[in-house]
């Protein structure tokens, strides 16, 4: 792999895709993940964060190669543990914009417990799950989102275990922004990622991203070009109109659960958004403020000296 030639950003110039591309992606031709990457460049172009403040991190999987293809601070951690790593980044430097990318196995299987706890703590991170309902990197084993009957190398006669429902799982964990999109719907996907990035808290977008190599046609049911049904969630506008009553209130958790329980392929869009819950970033900052009020802003040296004086 060769590193892309990059023009150093000039002060005052906008951050463009040109400055954001890095290594050439190693995905199979036709892989859904290409579209996610293209969308992400657009998201960053729209957000215009200072280049050095963007961090892209991932676990292990085809989708988790993502950080090599984005020219930002970033890294490639171990399978399933990118979220706790990202928690350290986000809490360690509150100025950073932390994005995590990964697959369905990485996020819902080996990393499932981390997902639950990062969500409940509402740590400021944007997490994009590229769900292909199969283990891509390890070449076609059953994943936690593989449908019953899916023939994989670990289930040659068809998967028997009930898959998880990602939206319900995320809602149940306490994620404060939960959305769903499809890699063939670039504008929708870009919009979802953009809103997730702007959300102050733990935001997750699950993107159905086809693995053309090992699960071809997995998401055709939601792809109109393949005869599928693309159902976008209409959000409440609070305009008092009679049709607004039928629209989805993204702050209504129960309604979100109902949407999440629709039959396959379900709906796409923002299921849930909670702007009132404090982030762990803010809660920890409060602890620091209160502790420093008690020590009257004494220097680190003075604080430790005072502690030692009590141990005499």
């Amino acid at each position: 792999m060769s590193s892309a030639v990059v023009t150093p950003p000039q002060p005052g110039q906008p951050l463009t895709k040109k400055a954001l591309v890095a290594d050439h992606p190693t995905w199979c031709p036709g892989c859904g993940d290409f579209a996610v990457l293209a969308s992400f460049y657009r998201v960053l172009e729209k957000l215009q964060y200072p280049h050095e403040k963007i961090v892209t991190f991932a676990g292990i999987g085809c989708s988790s190669r993502f950080p090599y293809f984005v020219n930002t601070h970033g890294g490639h951690f171990i399978h399933g543990r990118a979220l706790p790593f990202a928690a350290g980044i986000s809490l360690g430097n509150d100025d950073l914009h932390v994005f995590v990318f990964g697959g369905d196995g990485d996020g819902f299987s080996i990393g499932g417990n981390h997902l639950t706890h990062t969500a409940r703590k509402n740590i400021r991170i944007t997490y994009v799950i590229m769900d292909n309902s199969v283990y891509g990197l390890t070449k076609k084993q059953t994943s936690p989102t593989s449908p019953v009957g899916f023939k994989s190398k670990t289930d040659p006669t068809g998967a028997v275990d009930q898959p998880i429902n990602p939206m319900r799982t995320l809602l149940n964990s306490g994620a404060t922004f939960v959305a769903r999109s499809h890699a063939t719907q670039v504008n929708h996907m870009t919009d979802m990622m953009l809103r997730a990035a702007r959300h102050d808290g733990f935001s997750v977008v699950e993107i159905l991203s086809e693995c053309v190599e090992f699960f071809e046609g997995a998401f055709d049911a939601a792809n109109p070009r393949k005869g599928g049904n693309w159902v976008v969630i209409e959000e409440k506008k609070n305009d008092g109109s009679p049709e607004d009553a039928k629209r989805h209130d993204v702050t209504d958790e129960v309604a979100a659960f109902k949407l999440a329980s629709l039959a396959w392929p379900g709906a796409f869009g923002v299921f849930y958004e909670n702007k009132s819950r404090k982030t762990k970033n803010a809660l920890e900052a409060d602890l620091i403020t209160r502790a420093r009020e008690r020590t009257k802003g004494a220097s680190d040296l003075a604080v430790l000296q005072a502690t030692f004086a009590k141990l005499r």
Partner: protein
């Protein structure tokens, strides 16, 4: 006047004439239940000793699961250097029959048995000890009265001990007031009442049982610094803060938990954060994320948790991310003996995990060293951009020792993170230099942003499948640890510089080994003692020292294994290929007694004098009666 706290204490002004006996040091074991506040008494004694320029060492056990179960606290205090908790107790305070039954064997013949006559019936006709019956429970109830019942028994006993050993009542009262000062004023008053009652009680009952520490007034303040008194886990926690560590993450497990508890409440005062995670894997991952933002972060655990951290530890080696991992060793495998000491995590600390992962492992020798070695670990982690494991243990974690207050103004490290723009030729993984990462948030003059990765990579952090680069990068990660080894100071060597036997220890065995060395040499054996704080990489040049002795006897708290050698011994034998490196091992969950090390040496060294000494009981601190 017996006590300054209540002048009208019965038995008052006309103190009985005292025939005090001078002593150098004393080992007192308090045995009761955990809710009796035995630890508090031990803590008072330890801190009093610290304030009196006496050396002090404590030994404490708390049952892991039951609150209210049996508990002991052993304190050894004296005017000389105290190196170990003491093999046998000079005085046993037994609160209950079960305390008496379980611990009478630890009292040396001629020692003092002080028991609560409300609860304990000592064996009849046992004349090995000076038995003193004291109605501790009724004495406390009478003194404090009201609804407190027997709460305060511990402070009553503290009063008794203060009287017997002529301790500084003023300082003790001050400590009691400090300790209970935050609570209701009744609490302080009751505590002082109980103390006075205990202090006054011996008047007519202990006539000839008074001792006085030798030359207590002349005990020199060695550096002019005051002493501080704390346990090993606290020393690690404050060492981290002094070294500039501001972020960490962990999951509770005995005996590590108190480190994370301290950091959770202390770090915010320094602008830092400690995160309690969902498990040990998340903990090390979060800590690595913290380090990635520029500081050196800390995670920790005990053996089982260290095992869970292994995959991420290998990532840290591969990605060259600085990190401190504190492992407070306990008895294993599995849940094993969670509240006992062992040194059986050495191999997993050095070699655990997949792939070739040269890493740094340090082991503190005592509580004071818990503070300083932690500071050193952070410096190494930063300088070599590497994970460093600190192997402490259960005995150090809870043992209270007094030591010179560190000169913080001189040694405290500023945690400032360097986020200045990196020059255009910056490489995260240069082959010809030590890695120093550009923390997230740093501008890159080249416009190229670095990737930290667990895949084998080139100098820019790009993944590579090149066999040549993998070899070169493996060499890079190995050579930096060798470069560190070359900077390590020669280990502490005491006793004879050549001779029959070199006793080698690591970690918390330092103290008893020092005492064992003195005994072995007193028996006429030419012997030295080498103590290693840097257990991996080893300092250079040890083979020259080893070659000056006939036998190298390594004393360690782990099993002798399938091939007959302990874990450190196995490593030394592999490293130096010397067949005369042998082991003294044990896994009874307790620290080495001096006599056990001496006996172990005698098994490997032929010496009639040594065998003869082994038959002789330790010269007691308390005068023989």
């Amino acid at each position: 006047m017996v006590s300054p706290n209540s002048p009208e204490t019965p038995g008052g002004a006309a103190a009985a004439p005292r025939a005090t006996r001078p002593i150098k040091d004393v080992v007192i074991r308090l045995a009761g239940n955990s809710q009796d506040g035995i630890q508090a008494v031990g803590g008072f004694l330890a801190r009093l000793a610290g304030r009196s320029e006496q050396d002090v060492m404590t030994y404490m056990t708390i049952p892991s699961t039951i609150s209210g179960g049996p508990s002991i606290f052993q304190v050894r205090m004296g005017t000389g250097d105290i190196l170990s908790a003491g093999d046998r107790a000079d005085m046993l305070v037994a609160f209950y029959q079960h305390s008496y039954d379980a611990h009478i064997g630890s009292l040396r013949p001629g020692g003092v048995l002080l028991y609560d006559s409300d609860h304990v019936k000592p064996a009849e006709g046992d004349h090995r000890f000076t038995a003193v019956a004291c109605p501790i429970t009724t004495g406390t109830v009478e003194a404090v009265g009201g609804t407190a019942k027997d709460k305060g028994k511990n402070i009553f006993v503290l009063g008794l001990i203060a009287r017997i050993f002529d301790l500084d009542v003023e300082k003790l009262s001050a400590l009691i007031k400090e300790r209970f000062g935050g609570k209701h004023e009744d609490v302080v008053r009751n505590a002082l009442l109980a103390f006075d009652a205990g202090y006054a009680w011996p008047q007519n009952n202990l006539r000839d049982l008074f001792y006085r520490f030798e030359a207590i007034e002349e005990a020199v303040a060695r550096t002019g610094h005051p002493q501080i008194t704390l346990d090993g886990n606290s020393a690690v926690a404050y060492g981290l803060i002094a070294a500039g560590v501001r972020h960490g993450a962990g999951y509770p497990i005995t005996p590590w938990s108190s480190i994370m508890e301290i950091l959770r409440s202390e770090l915010p005062k320094y602008g830092g954060i400690f995160v309690q995670c969902e498990d040990e894997i998340a903990s090390i991952s979060t800590a690595l994320g913290f380090s990635y933002t520029g500081g050196v972060a800390i995670t920790g655990s005990a053996g089982p948790g260290l095992s869970l951290k292994m995959e991420a530890l290998s990532w840290a080696t591969m990605a060259e991310m600085p990190l401190i991992v504190v492992n407070v060793q306990r008895g294993g495998p599995s849940t094993g003996m969670p509240t006992n000491v062992e040194q059986s995590d050495l191999m997993q600390a050095i070699w655990g995990s997949h792939g070739d992962t040269p890493r740094v492992v340090l082991a503190p020798k005592n509580v004071e060293d818990c503070f300083y070695i932690t500071m050193e670990a952070v410096r190494i982690a930063k300088e070599y951009s590497t994970p460093v494991i600190i192997l402490t243990d259960q005995a150090l974690s809870s043992r209270i020792e007094a030591f010179d207050e560190p000169d913080l103004a001189k040694i405290m490290v500023d945690p400032k993170v360097d986020r200045s723009e990196r020059p255009a030729d910056f490489k995260p993984y240069p082959l010809d230099r030590l890695t120093q990462h550009a923390p997230a948030g740093t501008k890159m003059a080249s416009g190229r942003y670095p990737t930290v990765t667990g895949l084998e990579h080139d100098e820019h952090g790009h993944p590579t499948g090149s066999p040549k680069l993998h070899q070169q990068m493996n060499a890079k990660r190995r050579e930096k640890i060798k470069a560190l080894a070359a900077t390590l100071p020669a280990p502490e060597l005491s006793g004879d510089s050549a001779g029959e036997v070199l006793l080698v220890t690591w970690g918390s065995n330092w103290g008893p080994a020092r005492e064992a060395l003195a005994r072995v040499r007193a028996a006429g054996v030419k012997a030295g003692h080498m103590h290693l704080r840097h257990v991996h990489p080893l300092p250079n040049g040890l083979e020259q020292t080893f070659s000056r002795y006939h036998k190298i006897v390594v004393a360690e708290l782990n099993d002798e294994g399938v091939y007959g050698f302990g874990q450190f011994t196995t490593m030394l034998r592999a490293r130096y290929a010397m067949p005369n490196i042998v082991s003294v091992c044990k896994t009874d969950g307790l620290t080495f007694k001096v006599s056990e090390i001496v006996a172990g040496i005698s098994r490997h060294v032929e010496s009639t004098e040594l065998e003869a000494t082994l038959g002789v009981a330790r010269q007691s601190a308390l005068a023989q009666r």
